[in-house]
Symmetry: C2
Subunit: 551 residues, 2 copies
Amino acid sequence: MSPALRVIPLGGLGEIGRNMMLYEYGEDIIAVDVGLMFPEEEMLGVDLVIPDISYVIDHADRFKAVFLTHGHEDHIGALPFLLKELNVPVFCTRLTRGLVDVKLKEHRLQNDAHVQVVEVGNTVEVGAFRVEFVSVSHSIPDAAALLIHTPLGTVVHTGDFKIDHTPVMGQHTDLQRLAEIGKEGALLLAMDSTYIEIEGYTPSEQTVADAIERVIADAPDRVIVTTFASLISRIQIVIDAATKHGRRVFVTGRSMVNNTQMARELGYLKVPPGALITAREMDNQPTAKTVVICTGSQGEPTSALTRMANGTHQNIVIQRNDTVILSSNPVPGNEKLVYRNIDNLYKAGAHVIYNRLAPVHVRGHAAQEELKIIHRLVRPKHFIGIHGEYRHLVLHRQLAITLGMDEKDALVLTDGDVMEIDEDGARVTGERVPAEYVYVDGLGIGDVDHIVLRDRQHLASDGMVVVVVAIDRQNGALLRRPEVMTHGFVGPEEEPTIVEGIQSLIADRLGREQTRVDWAGIRDTLKDDVATYLHEQTRRRPLVLPITVEV
Amino acid sequence: MSPALRVIPLGGLGEIGRNMMLYEYGEDIIAVDVGLMFPEEEMLGVDLVIPDISYVIDHADRFKAVFLTHGHEDHIGALPFLLKELNVPVFCTRLTRGLVDVKLKEHRLQNDAHVQVVEVGNTVEVGAFRVEFVSVSHSIPDAAALLIHTPLGTVVHTGDFKIDHTPVMGQHTDLQRLAEIGKEGALLLAMDSTYIEIEGYTPSEQTVADAIERVIADAPDRVIVTTFASLISRIQIVIDAATKHGRRVFVTGRSMVNNTQMARELGYLKVPPGALITAREMDNQPTAKTVVICTGSQGEPTSALTRMANGTHQNIVIQRNDTVILSSNPVPGNEKLVYRNIDNLYKAGAHVIYNRLAPVHVRGHAAQEELKIIHRLVRPKHFIGIHGEYRHLVLHRQLAITLGMDEKDALVLTDGDVMEIDEDGARVTGERVPAEYVYVDGLGIGDVDHIVLRDRQHLASDGMVVVVVAIDRQNGALLRRPEVMTHGFVGPEEEPTIVEGIQSLIADRLGREQTRVDWAGIRDTLKDDVATYLHEQTRRRPLVLPITVEV
């Protein structure tokens, strides 16, 4: 009997972001995507969240390759952390490689890494797996679904995708090839679930092109457009509309400048001669004949748009008749920052066009009707939802069942689960693989744990109070007035009264000589007494840090 | 010439929440609403945000009364803080008074405060103002718009409202009375702008009644419903549907129990005999004949629904065939908590129905078409948007202009602005009144300022390191190995290495004897050197607190 195919999500199932999936057959393991997640509100001070890769490290000899579906951070962002540990070959499409290269350079890995470009339609053989790249539409060019051919049958791993019949940069979802696979019936369909809650269809990128062109055509003066720096088709739309209406384009913001240049060099972006201008050329260009493309669609504090909104951009001061287009939606968690920018742009006198007011953005993921089409075309024996929080995966399973799939064939997997598929069917084995959040903070990878975060939370909510007490080592008597320092606890006007209160309290408790000096007891008493006193006075619970010095 | 009417927003214009507006004519000042705002993410450790009332304190002799439009926290929550300073009479409708009374008891103000009930249709005279309460629909009963009659004309202050032609609890927006005012033309329309970005109409509460009844009718077993505790009409809907389908209702969660009881006593909630059951009665009731109404619609960590989702509720364990209805939308900022509950309920095996899947909630505010109707009926000479972030106020002004209003008559005011209206027109004077955020943290009101918050932010992001150094007071030599403590900085495995590193560094810097001991210099050097060392080692910037002890 041939071995089972094992499917092991290390990230992205039961959460949004940090996508990483392992496929294992016999002695061979491959990974699809190695993404990062940006920290949530309660992950104080954390820079990035990456997958736990200890399982592949433990099976390093069997781990053969990484395949990347597309170049977004939540699919490639943790790759350098993996490659530092295990330098396996990486396979991806051309633009994805361009974006990976930038990351590898930052981590000084560009000379050692083996990143190989695969064109869509082509296949790579690694151990027991033949992995075929299939074109899909998404909000970045060169996105691919993977057909993972195994001795047991073919896995269709969609990655992020949508169906767009009029994509601006010509990249369709290859329904033909998926239908071909479906003719024999796929073994497993692992499909994007991000927008399972959305009814109907995701509108085409062409609707955005039309809306943006209308705004640029009608704008009374300068137009400023912000979008995701990786959304190359959107940049193309803006350049095309600007050129058509006799405007020239200035690009600003580090990642926007870098991506525009890279996409141009790789041939993804078509820029007519003279369409782009430098900051100096912009000064001689009438504002009514200018379009600015910039970073800042998520309200990032140091981005170009945020600087403009705050009046601190080096080249651009918002004027009364400027029109600002936010060609993007705020990612959940970024709403406040995005709307703060919009408010500040309005205050500076600009017109602001955002998605609630005009169709200047479309989503990058498939909605329900698109998902149904893929289910019907691929006709899988087994199904799992990928890329989604738990409810998305449950809802996607329910959709699969509605479409006629047997309940036992549609499963919900979450990070760290192991699914096995063989001739007898598919099952979640009950085995668990490490798949917890790994926090990156500065140079530290994984050292920030829930205890560190709990301490930060405590410090964040009420600040801290340090009490330094000098004690006679012979008799335990207080030698001088205790020193008290506070941070983030009370305002400057209230502090002196609180400090005096603490000093009196300590003088009262520790003033007397003792026959036996109980140092641990003194510290505990100090901590508890001061904390109780502060809570009575303020109803706050700062971290109290008693320091006893024997003199 | 008669004096100007002065309109001074102290909160709620340029932000959502913390609503408070002053109207001033001659020697008389009245306030409409005294609300609070819940803290935003960056306001670490803050409990509440309230308006700055120093302007009315400075004009205490002229400050005559407070009028409340309805009983939501963002309109009444800061009232106790105001009444502690200035015990002026308060006028409001009956349910609003019930909710205010609960607050005043918490603050031990119930014996001193003068809160008077005014029925809709009735008028109160205070100084130069005659204030008339007019019925409006909103997501709480007994909401009122105010017609503020002044010698210069009538101000229509809508408060929060929508137009609902089939409200479940019979409370319409009194279009007749507004039309009557509009016949002569109002002086000023100050109108809710919360949902100016939404096209069309807000659906009726009746659509929710239908949807919830359908879910309860079809549910295979127990049904659990969460909503806002103040949304009395929604509670009525659930009780009615349960009764109709032979189910009995258990209410849980402190504010839900309190509000249900108060609304029943005041006659707002109609409960058939035997419809409600206690926890003990529930144990003998078949689960398929039970409905639970509970708190937790915003994912509040200690609420009933969150406890159920986490498996820690004292009476209710989620079962495989339970149906949970979230009859609410997450307030911006609460999405993560709400969706975490949904995920956990799914994991426990429940069916979860929320607003993305079925119409089990409607908004409480008017959308564009409703706003237009009020503009047309009231026909104001002047207009300002209220209750909204800056962009909402700008968009609402644009709507007013689209409807034919002159640009100079439609203004945008923000907190602290002063608008004057007289026979010559309306203008923003340029005078500024204090209207900054006032933070409540524990017992402290206003002492937490931006410096305290900045310190908390610093502590939150990288934690802290305390270094205690004992130094010979004669020659400045280091006397013993420095003591180092860290909190929220690095994990337990990394800490010893870091601590040793700091100790070596200090021994290196301070080991030698000096002829002159420069204490301030030692502290600064310590702080900088240790901070630099830690940044090199970890790329983190904890708060470094050097403590030097002379021995």
